[in-house]
């Protein structure tokens, strides 16, 4: 621990008391052993494919989505242009088409698929922010956060509850965005924090349905008091 630089500024007695207070917080030995076994078992089960590994970011997750895409791809019949638009990010020529296609899908989809579409739209917007940030296009990434917020707003207004798979996907967004935020220049931080806020919506809603399926939240609202 590198706390020597702070120690000089603090009262030693208070620092010691803090350390003692922390040291008092010990897990119950039985709980500790049980969790160790659970953790190792889970690792083995995941490694051997006995339980499902959550989908990687950007993967299509549900059968409903696959069916939806297949049917809508036919209905919309925009072929190569439409396909190309799927990979567009804010600022690209085809990006408005991507949004229009999503909007059309939402309008013609059955109510049963509405939740999937709204959740998918939020995932897409977060993907776009992340893609731009990973490419180092920080200002475009920050600018794209507004669309993520809007997607989150639509999901919120719709009143749907995320399922476990959606919550897991949002958890991945939270982790990735938090990583990116640490590397972001100051000028892009606000935008990324807004995207992170949007990503934390999903898990919180999912939690109300099934506490076991919750994923983590971000640090929205925790502004630096300095």
């Amino acid at each position: 621990m590198n706390r020597a630089e702070d120690r000089s500024a603090f009262d030693d007695d208070l620092a010691q008391l803090l350390e003692r207070a922390a040291a008092d917080l010990r897990p119950d030995p039985l709980y500790r052993r049980r969790l160790r076994a659970d953790t190792v078992n889970r690792h083995v089960a995941l490694r051997e494919g006995l339980i499902a590994v959550p989908r990687a970011r950007g993967e299509m997750g549900r059968v409903g989505r696959a069916v939806l895409y297949a049917s809508l791809a036919t209905a919309l019949s925009v072929s190569a242009v439409g396909a190309a638009a799927q990979d567009a990010v804010p600022g690209d020529l085809l990006y408005p088409m991507k949004l229009q296609l999503e909007d059309i899908r939402l309008r013609i989809a059955s109510p049963a698929l509405r939740h999937d579409l709204l959740a998918q739209a939020l995932g897409e917007r977060l993907d776009e922010v992340e893609q731009l940030a990973q490419r180092g296009e920080w200002q475009r990434a920050a600018g794209a956060a507004g669309a993520a917020e809007a997607a989150e707003g639509r999901l919120s207004t719709d009143g749907t509850v995320l399922g476990r798979l959606d919550a897991d996907e949002m958890q991945r967004h939270v982790i990735l965005l938090t990583d990116l935020l640490a590397d972001a220049p100051a000028s892009a931080r606000n935008g990324l924090e807004r995207a992170l806020d949007a990503a934390t919506f999903g898990p919180a809603r999912g939690a109300s349905q099934d506490p076991a399926s919750t994923s983590n939240g971000g640090h929205a609202g925790e502004e630096d008091p300095q």
Partner: protein, 209 residues
């Protein structure tokens, strides 16, 4: 042991030759990052050692943030589930594993607090932990009780900094990576937090009968 786990272990044994087990016996002093690499490569031993290396600190961190034993246990369990699940996606070399793991813990705590009291701030949530919740966690003397009570009056960021520095045992640089802040900011938060605690505890001393 549940039937599922028993079956999982049997299946794991059957497939063992194909699993990339990394021998750590030659690395008795392997660091956390080294263990994380081996764990991501499939080593069960590395996962167990990683757990041993982190569990107390992650538990202390969560317990200091939520203050109820049951919540701390639930969150710690959730954190290790996420660590194990996301191990293959951990990007080695980008940042220390501990910072990555504690970031997961931090997010889990924040998620928990929001879920418990969606309309209250972290400050307000902390107030409810004083008294009954704190009593559930071993308390050795009144000074520590008073200190923990005083901690709940800090801002969320100050509480976070204190928990990461003193409960998790992270350096200012490591805590900064977890919080997504600069190390100087974390030092400042810690400094102000300690100053506030000192002030509040001094007030408590004066008002004591």
């Amino acid at each position: 042991m549940s039937a599922f786990v028993a079956e999982a272990l049997r299946e794991a044994d059957r497939r063992r030759p194909a699993a990339p087990e990394v021998a750590l016996s030659t690395l008795p002093e392997a660091g956390v990052d080294e263990l994380a690499r081996a764990a991501a490569a499939g080593s069960t031993e590395a996962v167990a050692r990683l757990y041993d290396a982190l569990v107390d600190r992650i538990y202390r961190y969560t317990a200091m943030r939520v203050r109820r034993r049951e919540d701390a246990e639930d969150i710690t369990q959730l954190v290790f589930e996420r660590i194990v699940t996301n191990l293959p996606r951990y990007r080695h070399g980008t940042r220390p594993f501990e910072a990555w793991a504690f970031r997961i813990a931090r997010n889990a705590v924040i998620d928990h607090v929001r879920r418990q009291r969606p309309h209250e701030s972290l400050d307000a949530a902390g107030e409810h932990g004083v008294g009954d919740g704190l009593d559930a966690i071993t308390l050795r003397d009144e000074a520590i009780r008073e200190l923990r009570s005083a901690i709940t009056t800090l801002t969320p960021d100050q509480q976070e900094a204190i928990a990461l520095r003193y409960a998790a045992g992270l350096s200012a640089e490591e805590a900064a990576q977890v919080m997504g802040r600069r190390a100087g900011t974390v030092r400042g938060l810690t400094f102000r937090a300690v100053a506030t605690l000192r002030r509040r505890m001094a007030v408590g001393d004066r008002s004591a009968p």
